[in-house]
């Protein structure tokens, strides 16, 4: 059920981005999206929640709800990264841990922002996604 949720959210984003064929328009939209990011509590913007090794900083926290779903909050010091992080949180937050760990994330590819997921990109998005999966996998394992 959670897997279906993740799918439908990706479909939604793909539809949303289909409106833009110009690169800059996509970024414009991304910048807007960054403003709606479920913000990480300022007190949690510590070393512990920092994703390392990137030009832009990304903070990420994961909380488990009683029903076993995982809620992500995040932030970044770079606006575009924040938009990308926002997209990721929007797709994965609230899903079951196991579904997150196993999610097939194709939407960045489809909307033409795939390169931002490359581990060689210095925005840290790839590390963030990995971190989200790790959190989720750890939670799923604890429940199992």
């Amino acid at each position: 059920m959670s897997a279906a949720l993740i799918q439908s959210r990706q479909a939604e984003i793909i539809e949303e981005f289909a409106l833009f064929d110009d690169w800059m328009d996509k970024y414009e939209h991304l910048i807007e999206l960054g403003k709606d990011i479920p913000a990480i509590n300022v007190a949690r913007k510590t070393e512990e929640h920092l994703i390392k090794g990137c030009q832009s900083k990304v903070w990420l926290a994961a909380d488990e709800a009683d029903d076993g779903t995982v809620l992500f909050t995040a932030d970044s010091d770079a606006i575009i990264t924040k938009g990308l992080v926002g997209l990721m949180v929007r797709v994965l937050s609230g899903a079951q841990a196991r579904a997150i760990a196993e999610a097939d994330l194709h939407f960045l590819d489809t909307i033409g922002l795939h390169q931002h997921l490359s581990p060689t990109r210095s925005n840290g998005l790839a590390s963030m996604v990995q971190q989200m999966r790790l959190y989720a996998a750890a939670l799923a394992a604890r429940r199992a």
Partner: protein
């Protein structure tokens, strides 16, 4: 005249400059990271590999002989280009980084002891810091940085004071800064260092592409540079060393070529330059780099330098007119490198939005973290860097793109 005409004349040598990125014409302003290569270099390397390749040295057959002469010819071209006293003072390496490591390990392990110091500057590239930190750590020695003034000029007072205070065994300075563009007065620095009894290494990675170099007039003991920033191939660089220094140094890497004779009883080493060139070198790269030097010299280093001066002046005046933009590094003597920040904005965002408009720049710390820390630039800078083919029009387009990016981010 010659200045504005230069790109017109040479841009056709660079097919990549015709391409598009994200549907926009490419504006390549990331030359300090790596320059594009003229067709003469690309085709020369291709031709060598397609019709002449063989392993060099000790080969009795025709191809081996031909390749050896071409490769050794490239060594002579480098020697002539930087006015080295002897061709065998040129050691081929895989880049500047490799060359500095060679000196740090071979010279450093024999000359540095506990309590000794190596003097560098706060504007050094990591390549001219970390190798010294590594050898110093192993010897109980220490790396001391010289201060950089707010406008990006080296603090000469601090330099002379540090020479006096620390009596360093080695002074290692960058000829031109890859982040600030600052050209350091290396002849003066080397003279003072020698006076104080220190050996000297000059990192010419950002000098070689931009102006003529004369190692004898600089008076350095070691001078390094990398080919890929100077219109040459990747995987190649060189170390110039004063013959007497190199002769006294132990080899660093062992293997074929660098030996006179090998046995399990004892191995003896070859003469310069081979002593420092273990293994099969980057033959096609060496030959292609020779062609890159030919290409630069056919234009004339002065013509290139003049053209880039015009570009820097133009970029400074255009960019500093943009509200909220601050240029980092305004030394009177600069190569074609302009770093900037835009108030309150992250340089990564700016770089990404420039890329979306076809403008290739580099953002971040540019492998000069200590300099960024020194200036308190947490998200680094946005760096535009120029080459002989760069036009003022490209700078204008980059400036408009920057303005658009700033509007979007605010």
């Amino acid at each position: 005249m010659a200045n504005t005409a230069l790109p017109d004349r040479i841009r056709r040598d660079f097919p990549i400059l015709e391409r598009e990125v994200h549907g926009k014409p490419l504006v390549y302003l990331d030359n300090a990271a790596s320059a594009q290569k003229p067709l003469a270099v690309i085709e020369g390397q291709r031709e060598y590999l397609a019709n002449h390749h063989a392993n060099i040295h000790r080969g009795a057959h025709h191809l081996a002989q031909w390749a050896t002469e071409a490769f050794e010819g490239a060594r002579k071209k480098i020697a002539a280009h930087i006015n080295a006293a002897h061709a065998e003072e040129i050691i081929f390496t895989s880049g500047s980084t490799d060359a500095i490591n060679l000196v740090a390990q071979s010279w450093g392990r024999t000359h540095l002891s506990a309590g000794d110091t190596v003097l560098v500057t706060r504007m050094e590239h990591h390549a001219n810091i970390v190798p010294w930190q590594m050898v110093c750590e192993s010897r109980g020695a220490q790396v001391i940085p010289v201060n950089v003034l707010p406008d990006g000029v080296l603090d000469l007072e601090d330099f002379h004071a540090a020479l006096k205070q620390y009596r360093p065994k080695m002074v290692a300075v960058v000829h031109a800064s890859n982040t600030l563009g600052t050209i350091n007065p290396v002849s003066e620095l080397c003279a003072a260092a020698r006076e104080a009894g220190a050996a000297t290494l000059v990192d010419g990675s950002q000098a070689l592409p931009h102006f003529g170099i004369d190692v004898q007039s600089i008076g350095s003991d070691f001078y390094v540079a990398t080919a890929h920033k100077a219109y040459g191939p990747t995987g190649l660089g060189f170390l110039h060393g004063r013959k007497s220094m190199l002769e006294a140094m132990p080899p660093w890497r062992g293997g074929g070529e660098m030996i006179r004779s090998v046995s399990f009883q004892g191995t003896t080493y070859n003469d310069l330059p081979h002593k420092f060139e273990a293994g099969t070198p980057h033959i096609s790269g060496g030959i292609a780099f020779g062609l890159a030097l030919d290409w630069m010299n056919a234009i004339g280093m002065d013509v290139i330098a003049q053209h880039e001066q015009v570009l820097v002046q133009h970029a400074h005046s255009t960019l500093s007119a943009v509200d909220g933009v601050k240029i980092i590094g305004t030394a009177p003597n600069k190569v074609g490198v302009v770093s900037l920040i835009a108030e309150g904005l992250h340089s990564y965002d700016l770089g990404t939005l420039l890329d979306g408009q076809g403008i290739a720049v580099r953002t971040g710390h540019h492998c000069t973290e200590p300099l960024m820390d020194h200036f308190g630039l947490e998200s680094g800078t946005l760096r535009m860097s120029f080459a002989a083919y760069t036009t003022t029009l490209e700078i204008d387009r980059a400036t408009s793109a920057l303005e658009r990016a700033m509007r979007m981010l605010r």
